[in-house]
């Protein structure tokens, strides 16, 4: 059991005698010896990495191949054509990357802000029609995106939001908000509001209560939720095409245009496309698991 208790999570069910007492260290847990356990963990990490990375191997081969036909296991002729094309200005990859990043970051921030308030309401309060709200929230996940986007497109054209980045950001909020609100709802369900009352009587006004108490408590969950929103927006295709009208060119749009026509470029672009997700995942990994995990218990040693 970790000694690092949070406002969110196990606080509240923690009994006093479960706390770490410096004078009475917990008895060592019987089980495999430490070195055995360490070997086991290494094996697990290697297996998981392999499972994650193997699908990328063909992509790497494709991206550097000149020709690659069955039954050769590795391409017999190599070429840097795909990569040099991608890095050239002609390919629009840099613009696509900038557009994608801008949109996904905006979506992540906006969805996080909305999810924070929505999730708080869902997690903390009981109100009439709460079940209905939860169902409506799930609707965008259930209803096909294309149906939603077709309807919204008409509205967006009227408000001249079609073919613009703000329009695409707005439409990306439709599939992302449900995830963020539901994740934050779960975070707030384990949240103890007494901490906020404690801060109030200590002289913190509502804004400072939020900054000094609420935000630090829900931050791990918020980061994970924002990460989800970023990834959904990052790989969104149909909605971007419909609302962006081909004027807002994100990486998925570029990628689609090469799939089928030029597998080498498509493979190289795919690798390019995955990179930010992996970087973000590494940066947020300590919130995805371990002591500060947003989802209680997962990954705890």
């Amino acid at each position: 059991m970790s000694g690092d208790r949070g406002i969110v999570g196990e606080a509240g069910v923690m009994l006093p005698d479960e706390r770490l007492d410096p004078e009475d260290p917990p008895q060592s847990v019987p089980g495999p010896r430490p070195d055995q356990r360490r070997v086991g963990r290494y094996v697990l990490v290697i297996v998981m990495c392999t499972l994650l990375l193997v699908p990328f191997v063909p992509l790497i081969f494709w991206s550097v191949s000149h020709r690659w036909f069955f039954p050769t296991i590795i391409p017999d002729q190599l070429s840097d054509r795909a990569w040099s094309y991608l890095l050239s200005e002609r390919s629009q990859v840099l613009e696509g990357l900038t557009t994608s990043l801008t949109i996904a970051l905006c979506v992540a921030v906006l969805a996080a802000a909305i999810g924070l308030s929505g999730g708080r309401a869902l997690g903390l309060y009981r109100f009439r029609g709460k079940r209905v709200v939860e169902l409506v929230l799930l609707a965008p996940v259930i209803v096909p995106a294309i149906a939603v986007a077709m309807g919204i497109q008409v509205l967006f054209i009227r408000y001249s939001l079609a073919d613009t980045i703000p329009g695409v950001v707005l439409v990306h909020l439709v599939p992302t908000i449900p995830y963020v609100v539901l994740v934050m709802g779960a975070v707030f369900a384990n949240y103890d509001v007494s901490y906020e009352e404690q801060a109030r009587v200590l002289g913190a006004n509502p804004l400072r209560v939020f900054l000094h108490v609420t935000l630090p408590a829900v931050l791990p969950g918020l980061i994970v939720a924002a990460f989800f929103a970023f990834l959904i927006s990052w790989s969104e295709y149909i909605m971007t095409v419909l609302i962006g009208g081909g004027q807002v060119v994100t990486l998925p749009l570029l990628l689609f245009s090469f799939v089928g026509s030029d597998p080498s470029v498509a493979a190289a672009l795919s690798l390019f496309f995955i990179a930010p997700a992996i970087v973000l995942m590494v940066l947020t990994s300590r919130y995805l698991s371990g002591d500060q995990a947003a989802v209680g218990g997962i990954g705890r040693a």
Binding site: R19, D21, E197, L202, V213
Partner: protein, 348 residues
């Protein structure tokens, strides 16, 4: 600086509930006094406390500090500190930062904060623990840190919402004594909420007993044992014997016979309240015959169940005395120990 507190017809009805949780309570707390607000869970004592602190808006009524209404002053500006049931130490801050929180919110500079923190750590007898993290302390230590954090801003009023209820027995006594000592030392007006009558009696200058959102009795600790206002109060303080009868002048006529009363009570029907330790064995004034039903040895004393005139009685005797079942004994009730409450078992 310490202030007097006045609650005027304070009422709180939560949204969606018909019955008020706190029903028009009025009381005054003198400057520097420690008042225990006693009552079972759900009697409205925590709600009252939160209205005092400004965390809850009353439905009606007024809260006055030194005669001035504070009803429009938000919690963070009221100079009221509160210690909750759980220590509620902010988990992302060190112990030192936790204690300094109130000063930081008031814009006090770092150097002064540090000095003040170590002063407070001395006060709660945990010096040098500033660098520790909340998870590294025991429950009792955490609650003491919570107390230090509440006191660092030198509040006008200290509210303690069952701060001992989550501690084990030994720690509870230690913490109780510490609170009493610090309160006396600082002379801070304090309200201590508890459901434990023993705790209230040991700690407070005055006790306010609440049941179902209303004050049942407000007085000195001994009043609650010797002169309870109602049957409910007597029962809350552990009284088991109630004998119905009629008051006529200084006499009480009941199934136990006619007993002499120590005080004047209104004539008419009434309920005689007898504490377990009030009954004595042997003939004398106010004596009556009883039949022993059962006796249970409890180490320091023997508890005896008996019937007298069809009324069941429970009392304690010294451990040396042996009583057999169906034995007839003479009991007496000293005049000073008699007290009559209204017949109807009403909650005020």
């Amino acid at each position: 600086m310490s202030v007097s507190v006045e609650l005027v017809e304070l009422t709180k009805t939560y949204k969606g509930t018909a019955e008020p949780s706190v029903d028009g309570i009025s009381m005054t707390i003198e400057k520097g006094q420690l008042v225990a607000m006693l009552g079972p869970s759900g009697c409205g004592k925590t709600t009252t406390m939160k209205m005092l602190a400004g965390l809850l808006e009353p439905t009606s009524g007024d809260v006055r500090f030194d005669g001035e209404s504070v009803i429009d002053i938000p919690a963070e500006k009221r100079q009221v500190a509160m210690v909750f049931q759980k220590p509620l130490l902010f988990p992302h801050m060190s112990i030192g930062d936790n204690v300094a929180f109130g000063l930081r919110m008031r814009g006090v500079d770092k150097k002064t904060r540090k000095l003040k923190v170590s002063e407070m750590m001395e006060l709660v007898r945990l010096p040098g623990m500033e660098e520790r993290r909340p998870g590294q302390l025991s429950g009792g230590q955490e609650q003491r840190i919570s107390l230090a954090r509440a006191l660092i801003t030198e509040p006008d009023i200290l509210l303690l919402d069952e701060p001992l209820s989550q501690l084990d027995a030994n720690l509870r006594i230690e913490m109780r004594d510490l609170i009493r000592q610090i309160q006396a030392e600082l002379g801070i007006t304090s309200v201590f909420v508890t459901h434990d009558q023993e705790e209230a009696v040991m700690l407070a200058d005055r006790i306010v007993l609440m049941l179902l959102g209303r004050i049942q009795q407000d007085g000195l600790p001994q009043d609650f044992y010797e002169q309870p206002a109602t049957q409910a109060v007597a029962r809350f303080f552990g009284t088991k014997n109630f004998v119905p009868g009629t008051v006529r002048g200084r006499r009480f006529e009941s199934a136990l016979g006619t007993l002499q009363l120590g005080q004047d009570h209104p004539d008419g029907e009434g309920m005689l309240v007898i504490r377990q330790e009030a009954i004595e064995i042997g003939p004398g004034a106010n004596s009556f015959e009883a039949t022993v039903q059962r006796a249970m040895y409890l180490g320091t004393h023997v508890r005896v169940w008996a019937t007298a005139g069809g009324v069941g009685l429970q009392f304690t005797v010294p451990p040396g005395v042996r009583h057999e079942e169906d034995e007839t004994i003479t009991l007496r009730l000293p005049m000073a120990q008699t007290w009559v409450v209204p017949m109807e078992d009403r909650i005020l």
